[in-house]
């Protein structure tokens, strides 16, 4: 016998929520594919647009034609449109006419808040599976372990199981909020918001890679002597010392030297290496930057024009 009648009215709420969550998984599952591109279990992917699948780049360990299992069980081969290491995203192209019925519904990103109920939906095989939790935090700006900055990445209180990276984070109605990835933060469950995924997908489809402005320097923060800081009227005590300049790089062409201390870029103070990374990520390759450089005791301005970091060959 089910629990007493007294509790039956209350029981309806849980049962209703339960049913709704299962419905959300079913709705989202219609847009989740299995990607067979590594020795271990398959990874998950999301049909992001008509004919386009998005997944986590690190789970696709080969190039060329990638076997994909669609929600209806059909097996197809997708081709790689492009990868971006910084966001760990990959875009795959389905054969013409395939995937139209499976495009993922999108959630209203503005409705997302800390505490929102969310589901991670994956297909690490034939069938769809899920995990459940809440959005734990939505830090304004957050860095991957490599230093790349991602806006409004979602930190999750749920489990991203084996094969779930590349799958969808959905709200309680099954609409997609982002793409799950446990590799962005060395195991912490995170999801890249849909808007960020869109930007990356746009570029991957247009040019096969995401342009990343690149200078060709390695830098290290250094403390400047206070006498020098005072004499030069600097606003901060730490700056970035150039430790190496890559051959044939924008930094070399601009005339940067090992030992130069980078103090500001386009007027913005450079205190930490991430300040330089941020300036580069805001700029576009081809648009010059004015670097304020401390060289041999005096300040100079050096103009550099970042180039597009060449897309690295990955996978395979």
């Amino acid at each position: 016998m089910s629990p007493s009648r007294g509790a039956a009215a209350d029981r309806g709420t849980l049962a209703e929520l339960s049913s709704q969550l299962a419905g959300a998984v079913e709705r989202a599952g219609n847009a989740i594919v299995a990607i067979h591109a590594r020795k271990r279990i398959p990874s998950s992917g999301v049909v992001w647009r008509d004919g386009i699948i998005v997944s986590a780049s690190h789970t696709v360990r080969r190039d060329g034609e990638i076997p994909v299992t669609l929600p209806n069980g059909d097996s197809v081969r997708a081709s790689i449109a492009g990868r971006d290491a910084q966001s760990d995203l990959i875009a795959l192209r389905l054969p013409p006419g395939v995937g139209k019925a499976h495009v993922a519904p999108r959630a209203d990103a503005d409705a997302l808040r800390v505490g929102s109920l969310v589901l991670a939906v994956g297909r690490p095989g034939r069938d769809v599976s899920a995990s459940f939790g809440i959005v734990s935090a939505i830090p304004d700006a957050w860095r991957t372990w490599q230093g790349a900055r991602i806006d409004r990445v979602m930190r999750l209180d749920l489990s991203i199981y084996d094969g779930f990276s590349g799958g969808a984070l959905v709200d309680a109605s099954g609409a997609v909020l982002g793409v799950n990835n446990s590799a962005l933060a060395r195991g912490t469950p995170m999801a890249l918001p849909a808007a960020a995924v869109d930007r990356v997908v746009d570029e991957l489809l247009e040019r096969g890679h995401v342009r990343r402005a690149f200078l060709g320097v390695a830098v290290q923060p250094v403390m400047l002597p206070s006498a020098l800081v005072q004499r030069l009227g600097l606003a901060h005590e730490t700056a970035l010392m150039v430790m190496s300049v890559a051959d044939d790089s924008p930094a070399e062409r601009g005339g940067l030297l090992v030992g130069d201390v980078l103090v500001a870029v386009d007027g913005a103070a450079l205190r930490r290496p991430t300040d330089l990374l941020d300036a580069l990520s805001h700029g576009k390759p081809g648009a010059s930057l004015a670097l304020r450089v401390l060289r041999a005791g005096s300040l100079e301005t050096v103009s550099v024009t970042p180039a597009d970091r060449a897309p690295r060959a990955e996978g395979g």
Binding site: S2, L14, A22, L119, S131
Partner: protein, 202 residues
Amino acid sequence: MPSSFGIGRRASSSASALAQFLRDAVVEVRCGAAGGDAGAGTGIVWGGAGLIVTNAHCVARDAAIAIRSGNRTSDATLIALHRGHDLALLAAPTVRGPMLEARDPLSLRPGELVFAHGHPLGVQDALAMGVLHAVVPDARSGEPRWIVADVRLAPGNSGGPLVDAEGRLLGINSMVVNGLGLAVPTPLVQRLVDHALSRRAA
């Protein structure tokens, strides 16, 4: 801002009502290996009275088995052990509990709420909530072999019930693999119970 927090309150109170119900449906199983310290797991009162189902790994053939139900402790005897499915059937004549309804594993949908009740890490009567992750079929027969749940289980949960939002039994929690909770499906358990009882009667 939501106009009220009614749904949250109702969901919380029905979760605690479920916990209360399950408290009456489970027992603590303590098994003393010869001369050693007792391990503890959870057991389910089967068929309303006198029978306890738990995991085989919670008990040992020649050791004393004690059942704690509410405030009372009693002895239990081992009727049947099935190591392949990690199930054990115990007789505990004085133990009573509510009849649990069975939930057909084939009707389960990924994402639906599931609840595990037991005594994890020595904590008495703890409830964990999660969702169904998948139902894994037996490779040969195609019948449900494992109920896999996205739920946090710990040692001590073994032998306890995995139920749905309405308190219907999905299976017996048996192990954790890669963070996922695995339960032996109810039909499998029922089959073994029926078989053991018919052999006993014969």
